[in-house]
């Protein structure tokens, strides 16, 4: 299964070993792990709750993975995203891409994260000493996703 939404933590090493197991044509595994920080917009964050839209989340992520596979020559993709309560230093998301060469794997991995940040229906609510607040979307995330639409974006 290329896409998983779960409350429990993940073992990135085990996930990546499983991703390339039995396929000696894979020469590169690129990955990204998103981690919960203890500070945001200048305030201390003590806890975070991740909410999503069950049903749409899986569809949106599968669509992003399919688009990455269509754009780059990669063999295996895994996206694991946690939901529920998380604390600072907890892992939030894992994207791992396996292919023959690093260039395509790196590019596909970054593309998937940029699209996930702007198109997958997850929302973060953080607890701070000033109270709970919903995290605001950043325009820099829109810019990061938008750059993949430029003509040179597919060059790996």
């Amino acid at each position: 299964m290329a896409v998983r939404i779960q409350t429990e933590d993940f073992d990135a090493g085990a996930e990546m070993a499983a991703l390339r197991r039995g396929n000696p044509k894979i020469g590169a595994v690129a990955s990204f792990i998103g981690v919960c920080r203890d500070v945001n917009d200048g305030d201390i964050v003590t806890k975070m709750t991740l909410e999503h839209y069950p049903g749409m989340t899986e569809k949106a992520l599968e669509k992003i993975v399919a688009e990455a596979k269509a754009r780059w020559d990669v063999m295996e993709v895994l996206v694991v995203h946690r939901v529920g309560e998380l604390k600072p230093a907890d892992q939030i998301v894992l994207v791992a891409v396996a292919g023959a060469h690093r260039g395509e794997a790196f590019a596909a991995c970054e593309f998937i994260m940029d699209y996930l940040k702007t198109r997958a229906p997850f929302w973060k609510k953080e607890e701070t000493p000033q109270g709970a607040r919903w995290v605001e979307a950043r325009s820099s995330d829109d810019d990061a996703a938008e750059r993949w639409n430029s003509p040179k974006a597919d060059v790996a």
């Binding site: 998103g34 991740l50 909410e51 999503h52 839209y53 049903g55 749409m56 569809k59 949106a60 995203h81 939030i92 998301v93 994260m113 996930l116 940040k117 702007t118 198109r119 997958a120 229906p121 997850f122 929302w123 973060k124 609510k125 919903w134 995290v135 605001e136 979307a137």
Partner: protein, 85 residues
């Protein structure tokens, strides 16, 4: 026609409602029309759904535009810009 409407994340909290089954006139045929209909409830609805507010809409779990058609049996979700990852 009957539709299902969902309100997610901060929008659910502002509206005090996670979702509802609605019977609407077939004249409300687009996402923009439904938004206008809900805003007419006034109060928090008017404020939270006001034009210019950063708001995303999905129809049947696919990202939608103001012009996206609304049909009988559709699931329409309103939510703020996403912040995962």
């Amino acid at each position: 026609m009957k539709i299902k409407v969902l309100y997610l994340a901060s929008l659910r909290e502002r509206l005090g409602k996670a979702g509802e089954d609605l019977e609407i006139s077939p004249e409300t045929s687009t996402v923009a029309g439904l938004r206008t209909l809900l805003m007419a409830r006034g109060g928090a609805w008017q404020a939270a759904l006001a034009q210019g507010k950063a708001l995303r809409v999905a129809v049947n779990q696919e990202m939608a535009q103001p012009t996206t058609p609304v049909k009988p049996g559709d699931e329409i979700a309103f939510f703020p810009p996403v912040t995962g990852g």
